[in-house]
C-alpha cells in the first residue's frame, strides 16, 4: 500500500482511451489492491493455515489482535500525517485519541448535552473528530509558534494537563468509581454499528434485519452475502473496523497527494522557503494538525467502540503517543501506510512471544523490548522504516515501480 504518484507519466499520451486510463489507474493502485486483498482475506487465511499447520499460529496473530492493528494503526497514521509529513513531532497526539474515545462513550451514555444517546455510532465518531479538530486549532495556534523540541514539549504539556484533568474528572464516570480507571459504556447501550445512515443495502449479510454493515463487536454473520461463509465475531469486528480505517487511509492519502499535501512536505523540507514563496505556513500547519486530530479521534472512537471501556492511561497518557511513534518509525516515518505495517509487526512479535514454545516466559508481554531495539536500529540506519527498506531494495516507491512493471508487461504483449 505504497503511495502512487499522481502524474501518470509519459504513458498517458499514448493510452488515451478509457481502457488505457483505467489501466493506468489500476496499475498505479496495484499495490493498494494487493494489500487490501491480503488484509481482506486474512481471517480466512488464518483460519485455513492454522487449521492445517497448528505451529503457524506462532507467526500469524489471531484476528482479534489484528483488530488492534487497524484502530491503533489509524492513530499512528494520523500521528505520521502531521509529524512525518510536516516534520513537527506531536508528542501530544494522545490527547486527540483520548478525545475521540471519551466523546464516543459519553455520547452513548447520554452524557453530552443536546446529543441524544441513540445517535448513530458513525455520527458520534464524526462528532468526536470535529470536537478534536476544535481542540487542535486552539492547541496548534499556541504550539506552532515553536519548533523542534519546543513544539514537542508544548504539545506534551497540553496532553498531560488533559490527562491529569480526565483522571480526576467525576462527571463521565459511574457513581462511586474512580475516574482514573476510566469510563465504560452502560450495559444497556447496544453494540456500536458501523454503516451508512438511511442505506440498508450494504451489510455483510444479505438480510433486511440489519441496518448497518455490522456491529463493531459481538456480531456474527451466518452467511456472508448469501454465500454460506460464516464469520466469527472477531472477523466481523475486523471487517467493520477495517472498512472505516481503509476509508480514512484513502482520505488522508488524498490530502497528502493534493497541493495542500505538497505544502506540508515543503514545510518539512524548508519552511523558510515555503514562507518566502508566499504560503501562509502557519495556517497550513494548523489545518494539517486539525485534519490529523480528526483522524486520531476517529481512531480513538473505534477503539472505544470496540473495547466499550477506556482508561486515561490508554488514551490521554503521553506514552500512548510514544506507542504511535514506535509503530510509525518501525513501519516508516513519512510514509502513510508505514505505521500500519509497524503495528502489524508489533502484534506479530507480541503474539509470537506469548504463543511460541522455547521463548522464556518472562519475555511474554515484552514485545516493546524487541521492537525498541529494532526502533533504535531503524532510527540510526533506516529512518524510513520497513517501507523505506523495501523502497531502497526495489529502487523507488513500490507502487510506482510495480505500476511501471505492469504497464511494461502489457505494452510488450
Amino acid at each position: 500500500m505504497d503511495l502512487p504518484d499522481e502524474e501518470g507519466g509519459d504513458d498517458e499520451g499514448r493510452l488515451s482511451s478509457f481502457a488505457g486510463t483505467a489501466g493506468i489507474y489500476l496499475s498505479d493502485h496495484a499495490v493498494h489492491l494487493a494489500v487490501i486483498a491480503l488484509l481482506g482475506l486474512y481471517p480466512g487465511i488464518h483460519h485455513i493455515v492454522t487449521g492445517a499447520v497448528s505451529a503457524s499460529g506462532y507467526v500469524l496473530p489471531p484476528v482479534d489482535l489484528m483488530v488492534t492493528v487497524f484502530y491503533f494503526g489509524l492513530f499512528a497514521m494520523s500521528f505520521d500525517f502531521i509529524s512525518g509529513y510536516t516534520g513537527y513531532l506531536s508528542l501530544g497526539h494522545a490527547a486527540f485519541y483520548g478525545i475521540g474515545a471519551y466523546t464516543v462513550l459519553m455520547v452513548a451514555n447520554g452524557l453530552v448535552p443536546y446529543i441524544p444517546a441513540d445517535t448513530w455510532f458513525v455520527a458520534s465518531i464524526v462528532l468526536a473528530g470535529l470536537v478534536s479538530m476544535g481542540f487542535a486549532v486552539v492547541i496548534g495556534a499556541v504550539s506552532f509558534r515553536l519548533r523542534g523540541f519546543y513544539f514537542a514539549m508544548i504539545t506534551l504539556g497540553f496532553t498531560q494537563v488533559m490527562y491529569v484533568f480526565v483522571s480526576r474528572w467525576r462527571y463521565p464516570v459511574a457513581e462511586g468509581s474512580d475516574p482514573s480507571f476510566g469510563i465504560s459504556a452502560n450495559p444497556e447501550v447496544p453494540g456500536f454499528e458501523i454503516g451508512i445512515p438511511f442505506v440498508d443495502l450494504v451489510s455483510l449479510e444479505f438480510s433486511d434485519s440489519m441496518l448497518a454493515i455490522g456491529r463493531i463487536r459481538g456480531d456474527t454473520v451466518s452467511s456472508l452475502f448469501g454465500t454460506g461463509i460464516e464469520l466469527s465475531a472477531s472477523s466481523v469486528s475486523y471487517y467493520v473496523i477495517g472498512a472505516v480505517v481503509l476509508l480514512c487511509y484513502f482520505a488522508m492519502q488524498r490530502v497528502i497527494h493534493s497541493p495542500f499535501g505538497r505544502v506540508m512536505v515543503a514545510v518539512r523540507e524548508n519552511e523558510e522557503r515555503a514562507r518566502a514563496v508566499g504560503y501562509n505556513v502557519f495556517a497550513y500547519k494548523i489545518a494539517a494538525f486539525s485534519i490529523s486530530a480528526f483522524f486520531a479521534a476517529v481512531a480513538g472512537g473505534l477503539f472505544a467502540g470496540y473495547r466499550r471501556a477506556v482508561s486515561p492511561d490508554e488514551t490521554f497518557f503521553f506514552m500512548t503517543s510514544a506507542d504511535a511513534i514506535l509503530s510509525t518509525v518501525i513501519g516508516g516515518f513519512g510514509t502513510l501506510a508505514g505505521p500500519l505495517y509497524g503495528r502489524t509487526l508489533q502484534e506479530v512479535v507480541e503474539n509470537f512471544l506469548a504463543e511460541a514454545p522455547l521463548v522464556p516466559g518472562v519475555l511474554e508481554g515484552h514485545d516493546v523490548l524487541i521492537l525498541g531495539v529494532l526502533f533504535v536500529v531503524f532510527v540510526l540506519y533506516f529512518f524510513t522504516g520497513l517501507v523505506g527498506a523495501v523502497r531502497s531494495r526495489v529502487g523507488g516507491k513500490v507502487a510506482e515501480v510495480v505500476g511501471e512493471r505492469i504497464r511494461n508487461y502489457f505494452a510488450n504483449l
Partner: protein, 341 residues
C-alpha cells in the same frame, strides 16, 4: 461560581500559611522538593547545554539508578546511623556505574547522529527508553520485586534518624526532608564547582561556546562530549537512588522505586529544564526552586482543604510549562533563540 465564602476561606488560609509553624513546614517541604527537582533535572540540563541532545531516556536512567541503587543500599546497609554512610557508598557506586554506561551509550548510539535534526535525537533516546524500561521491568520481575507498589527493601533501610519526625518552633518535618535538602545543596555546589572551576569544566564551557574553536585549541571534543553525557546519566542515577527513599514523590504522584518512576520523573525534569532555560545550570537551579515551591504550596492547599482538587500540584506543573513555552520559550536564563530552531 466563586462565592464570598470561598474567598474568605481562601484569605483565612493564606493568613494561616504565614503563621510560623505552617510557614516553616511548607518552606522545608518546598526546599526538599526543590532538591529533588534539581537532582532529576541536573543531568538533563548538562547534557543539553553541551551536546544539544534532549535525552528522553533520562527518566529510564533515573529508574535504573533507583533499582540498582536500592539494591546496593539494601546489600551494604548495616542498619542504624551507618545506613547514611551506606547511602553515600551506594550513591558513589551508582554514579560510577551509570557514568560508564552513559559514556558507552553516547559512543555507540548518540555520536552517529549529532549532526542530524533534533527529531532524531528525540526518537533515538526515546527508543533507548523503551528498551531500558522493558529490561528493568524484566529484571525486577526475575528478582520478584513488586512493580506497581514501591519497593520495600530500600525503604526499610532508611535509618531511624531520617525516618522520624522532628518538631521545631511548632513546625514538624521528617529528617529525610533535611537530608534531601543537604544532598541538593551539596550536589548543586559540586556541579557548579565542576563546571566553573575545574579544567574539564573549562573544556565543557569552551565546547558549549564554540566546539570547533575548542578543538582547534587542542581540546579533545569527542571525549568531552562522552564524559559529559556519562556524568549527566550518572547524576540521573543518583537522583533515582534518592527517590527510592522518598515516598511522597513529586507532584503528589507517590514515590519510591516503581516501574512508573521513569515517566513520572521524565516530565517534571523536562519542565524544570525548560522553565530554567535549556542548557543553563543556574536556570535549572532557579526553576527547581520555583517548581519545588509551587509543588509544596499546592500540596499544602490541598492538604488543608482549601482546594478540593487532588491533582493540583501535577496540573500546575504542566500549566507552568505551557505558559513558559507560550510566553518566554527560552526560559528564565536560557540564551538560545528557540522559535527558529
Amino acid at each position: 461560581m466563586i462565592g464570598v465564602e470561598t474567598v474568605s476561606v481562601f484569605v483565612l488560609s493564606v493568613v494561616e500559611l504565614f503563621q510560623p509553624s505552617e510557614f516553616i513546614g511548607v518552606l522545608v517541604d518546598a526546599l526538599s522538593k526543590a532538591s529533588l527537582y534539581i537532582m532529576i533535572a541536573a543531568g538533563l540540563t548538562i547534557i543539553f547545554g553541551l551536546i544539544g541532545v534532549v535525552n528522553f531516556a533520562h527518566g529510564s536512567m533515573t529508574m535504573l539508578g533507583a533499582y540498582l541503587g536500592g539494591f546496593l543500599v539494601t546489600v551494604v546497609s548495616p542498619g542504624g546511623l551507618l545506613s547514611v554512610a551506606a547511602f553515600f557508598v551506594a550513591a558513589a557506586g551508582i554514579f560510577v556505574v551509570l557514568t560508564v554506561a552513559g559514556g558507552a551509550m553516547e559512543k555507540a548510539l548518540i555520536k552517529p547522529i549529532y549532526d542530524r535534526s533534533p527529531i532524531y535525537h528525540i526518537l533515538l533516546t526515546l527508543g533507548v527508553a523503551f528498551v531500558l524500561d522493558e529490561l528493568i521491568e524484566i529484571g525486577a520481575t526475575l528478582y520478584g520485586i513488586s512493580l506497581i507498589s514501591p519497593w520495600r527493601a530500600p525503604l526499610d533501610a532508611i535509618p531511624g534518624v531520617l525516618d522520624s519526625t522532628y518538631t521545631v518552633a511548632g513546625a514538624s518535618f521528617r529528617g529525610l526532608d533535611i537530608f534531601e535538602i543537604g544532598i541538593g545543596v551539596v550536589a548543586v555546589g559540586v556541579i557548579w564547582y565542576f563546571i566553573n572551576r575545574t579544567r574539564y569544566g573549562l573544556y565543557i564551557r569552551a565546547c558549549t561556546e564554540d566546539s570547533e574553536m575548542a578543538e582547534a585549541l587542542g581540546v579533545d571534543v569527542p571525549r568531552t562530549f562522552t564524559l559529559v553525557f556519562g556524568v549527566g546519566v550518572g547524576l540521573a542515577g543518583v537522583a533515582g537512588l534518592l527517590l527510592t527513599w522518598d515516598l511522597t514523590g513529586l507532584m503528589g504522584q507517590g514515590g519510591g522505586a516503581t516501574i512508573f518512576l521513569s515517566t513520572s520523573v521524565l516530565l517534571p525534569a523536562f519542565v524544570v529544564v525548560i522553565v530554567g532555560g535549556l542548557g543553563s545550570f543556574e536556570g535549572t537551579v532557579l526553576a527547581g526552586l520555583l517548581v519545588g515551591a509551587v509543588d509544596a504550596l499546592t500540596t499544602w492547599l490541598f492538604v488543608n482543604e482549601v482546594v478540593g482538587f487532588s491533582a493540583l500540584p501535577e496540573i500546575s506543573l504542566f500549566v507552568i510549562l505551557i505558559l513558559v513555552l507560550a510566553v518566554r520559550p527560552r526560559g528564565i536564563l536560557g540564551s538560545q533563540e528557540v522559535t527558529l530552531d
